[in-house]
Structures are given as structure tokens and as C-alpha cells.
Symmetry: C2
């Protein structure tokens, strides 16, 4: 009945004796409660958010549905408390996925000195400080036979701002076969052939990000530290691009202040995606050289 | 010919044997070059910015005009290089001024470890991390006889988010006489009687901040670390509210990335000012209790 998710791009992966999320056939995702404060704070957030009447419906759709908590046999075989959530990819066959951790700062001001030092180091070594976000996971569907392009975690961890731009381009490209051939990253330029249908359009990812941005310019209820945006789409006639927010173990009360840390990173990401879109249009219209 | 400016609210103040800015009668402001990299980088910024043809005129007006550099007798009596700038308050008689250092982070990623540690400590102790900005200076004109309300630097340094909101309210209030009486901060609520004419309206401060925000969502040329917004207005029939950017000793190249750190802080400030404005309107319309 329970199985290990096929489409995970970041976070702990369940395995023999390893604690990780499970899914079932009914479209539910079982996330093991993390140790200590993290687990309880993530539950607190879901409880607060799901009962918060001030969340507009058009914003609520960006969050996984929360079905409560349950103590159940974990992927390790041992009983463990789980958060029960909507399985965001259950209706998709071969989704391309990108996990982007938003914010130049992944630590809350109230965190412990030890935790802040640890986070600050990671934020500075990654693109969090420079770009306001960093890539946590990526997989792009290439085809039924070739499967997925999925760069190593280590490659993503070392990515600089230019690499991140390239990954955002690869996410919407159809010429990634060569990436699979050699072990190293390819020299060929991503074609961004899916940019218009995935990033662009009224229902595209950019449009959804702008909707989120408008909410973050106003909402002062929550601060989302170390939270990720998950991008999803499928190759085919209807790519059905979707943006979701995930990972709420470090959400804090906003106390009347907007989440300027999340908002700044979101605006920075919006800028990169807008540029990829407009470059693709210029290329299509012959305004720039390939 | 040269004199010490009357209306300085932050930064080093010139005095006997102390290096500080000077002004002349022709509306020019002479800022002594800071030691080492700071001074040369501030000059580099002004040279780059003043010759940059990609700056829209409606954005250029937010910056002091740059007239070059000059080695001249400083406030100390000794020759010293100065940056010659437009004296932003020369046309004003009794301006109310507020200096707000923008950004949750006042350090550039490329700064030295020692400098980062020092800045991070200040950022965390002040409201920079929590609000995305902190107050560096404030003086509010009360009347010809009573002069100015000018909280001690120490009071501003210790201000938390709620205190900052109160200072932003006091800046546009006419009932600050009681603030002058006791040494401590008064308990009476600022009346925000000037909010509509200073923060509001087509030419008001909020409107100017929104213009700046639109530019920061797009521009990837400069990152403005430890830079301040200066708010100015005058009591009277035409308050003539103005926003300027000042202090460019830590400006870095944007390298194709937006200044999400400045933008986040700016959006947070915009939110507070919008709230003061709408609360004042609600009060006027009897929608909330005084």
C-alpha cells in the first residue's frame, strides 16, 4: 500500500533502514516528522495555515493540502509520527521537477547561534547570498527510453549564479540527450524550446510567481525560512506547469512585518525567468543570434 | 565660504579637529573621502553612475548630482580629498529629515571576514535583519521656537520593529512638543497629521518609493550595500516631500543579478508606510478608534 515516491528531487530519501517519505495509491504523501523542534514546528505551521481564514484561495492553491498527522510504520519498519499531505505529483506520469530554496538567509533571527553559523556558511557557499535562492534539486524528463536528466547534488551545491541560470534554461529545454552521454555537464547550449509553454503564458510559472509575489508584498503573518518552491510540468500537449511551496520546518510568525527575505529572493528568481523568456522570444523573432 | 551643514542627521559630523562634510553657499556638499577602499569605491560609483546612459531620468533624480572630486582644506584644517555633491537640503529652511539604511544585510559577499562579522553583528542587533532596514537618523521640525525633535543616536540604535514604526509615525506628526519636555520618549500617540501630505499623494514619499521599487525589480547594474534613503519635507503649505539615495561607499557591481537585498528592505519599508497612511485614512473616516 505504501511505497517510496518515484519523483523526489530533494530531501531525505527513504530506503532500507532509512527514514524518508512514503506515498499511497490515494494521492497522499506521508512525511516523517523531523526530530525536535523542526517536526513540531512544521506541524504547527500546517495546522495554523490550514485553519487560517485570511489566506486567499488563489494563494492556498500553492500549498499542499494538509490531512493531519499519524503514527504509522515508517520506511524504516519502525513506528514514527508522519505528517499526511497531498502527494503533489500523484496525477503526473513523468514530471520534470525543480526544487528551489528561497531566501538569501535560511535562518530565522531567533535561531540558535550554532544553527545560524551552520546556515550562514551554506548560504554563503551556495548562491543563496548572491542570488537570493539556491537550487536544491532538479530532474528533467528527456524521453521514455532515456529517462531523466538529473545532475548530481554535488554539482548543484557548487553551482554559481551563471550555472543556476543555465539550470533554469535546461529545465525548459529539449536537447538534453547529450547531457546524459558524458559524465560531465555538456557544452551544448540548452534550446529553451519549452520556455514559452512552461515559464510563459497566463497559466505559466512566471505568472504564478507574480501572483505569489503580490501576496508576499502584503502578507505579514508568516516568514518562510529555508522553504522551497517546487516547479513541475510535463512534456506533451499540455505541460500543465505548476508552482508549489514546500518544507515548512522553519516558518516563523511574521509579527506584522513582510517576509522581505523570501520576497527579495522571489523577485530575483522572477528576473532570471523573465530574461530566459524574453531571450527565447527574441531568438524566435530573429532579434538575437542563437 | 565653507561651513558645517546645519541639517545633518547621520554620519560623521565635522568639528574642531574632526573630519566631516562641509557645504558652501552655492548649494554644494563636500564629503571627505573615507579611508582606503571606501573612499575610492564611493568615487568609482559616482563616476560610473553619472556617466551611465542606462539610468532613466526619473531614477537619476533620486541621486545627488556629482560634481567631481577636489583636494581642499577639510574641516580639520588639513588638506584632504573631497567628493563634491549637490547639497540636498540647500533650498530648504527647516527640513524634517529621516535617514534609513536599507537592506537586511549591510555587507557585500566579497567583503573581508572581519568586516562581515562586524556588520552582521550590527545587522542582528538593529532592525536590519528583522525589518530589512534600520533608522540611522531622524529630526522632525516642531516650530521656530521649539526647534527640532531629534532622538539620541543610542535610542535609535536600540529601536525594535515597533519603535521604528513609531518613529515613522512621529516623522509625520505635529504633536511632538511633549517629546521635548521629558528626557525620555513620550507616551502620547503621534497624530500622523502630516501623513497624507508627506507620505501620500501623487508626489508623496510612498509614490516615490514605488517608483524606486519598480527600478530595483529590474536593474542588475549595482548592488547598494549599507546605502541609505533620505526622506525630506517641510512643514507649511507645500511640504515638498523628497526621497534621495545617499552613501555609496559599499556599492558593488550587480553582475546581472537584481539587488534583492535592497529591494526586500524597500518593500518592507513600503509596507509600514502604506499601513501608516491607511490607518490615518481610516481614523479620519471614523473607521477606527483614535
Amino acid at each position: 500500500m505504501f511505497k517510496i515516491p518515484d519523483h523526489q528531487v530533494a530531501g531525505h530519501v527513504a530506503g532500507a533502514g532509512k527514514l524518508g517519505p512514503l506515498v499511497d495509491d490515494s494521492g497522499r504523501f506521508y512525511k516523517p516528522l523531523q526530530d525536535g523542534k523542526r517536526g513540531t514546528e512544521e506541524v504547527s505551521f500546517y495546522e495554523s495555515f490550514s485553519s487560517n481564514t485570511q489566506i486567499p484561495e488563489k494563494i492556498r492553491k500553492f500549498f499542499p493540502i494538509f490531512y493531519g498527522t499519524k503514527i504509522m510504520k515508517a520506511s524504516t519498519g519502525i513506528e514514527h509520527p508522519h505528517i499526511i499531505l497531498q502527494d503533489l505529483v500523484s496525477s503526473r506520469l513523468s514530471p520534470s521537477l525543480m526544487d528551489i530554496k528561497i531566501g538569501a538567509r535560511t535562518w530565522a533571527p531567533e535561531a540558535s547561534e550554532e544553527y545560524i553559523t551552520k546556515c550562514l556558511k551554506k548560504d554563503r557557499q551556495s548562491t543563496s547570498v548572491s542570488l537570493g535562492y539556491r537550487l536544491s534539486g532538479l530532474r528533467v524528463f528527456i524521453g521514455d527510453e532515456l529517462g531523466f536528466y538529473k545532475p548530481e547534488r554535488d554539482v548543484m551545491r557548487k553551482a554559481g549564479p551563471d550555472d543556476v541560470r543555465l539550470f533554469l534554461m535546461k529545465f525548459v529545454s529539449s536537447n538534453l540527450e547529450s547531457e546524459l552521454e558524458s559524465g560531465s555537464e555538456s557544452e551544448s547550449k540548452p534550446d529553451c524550446s519549452l520556455a514559452a509553454s512552461v515559464y510563459g503564458g497566463d497559466d505559466g510559472i512566471l505568472s504564478q510567481l507574480l501572483e505569489l509575489k503580490a501576496w508576499f508584498e502584503d502578507q505579514t503573518m508568516y516568514h518562510f525560512y529555508a522553504c522551497s518552491l517546487l516547479f513541475m510540468f510535463e512534456k506533451g500537449l499540455t505541460s500543465n506547469p505548476e508552482v508549489k511551496l514546500i518544507d515548512f520546518a522553519h516558518v516563523e510568525e511574521g509579527k506584522g512585518v513582510i517576509d522581505h527575505n523570501f520576497l527579495g529572493g522571489l523577485c530575483s528568481l522572477i528576473k532570471f525567468i523573465s530574461e530566459i523568456l524574453s531571450d527565447t522570444n527574441d531568438l524566435k523573432n530573429g532579434l538575437i543570434e542563437p
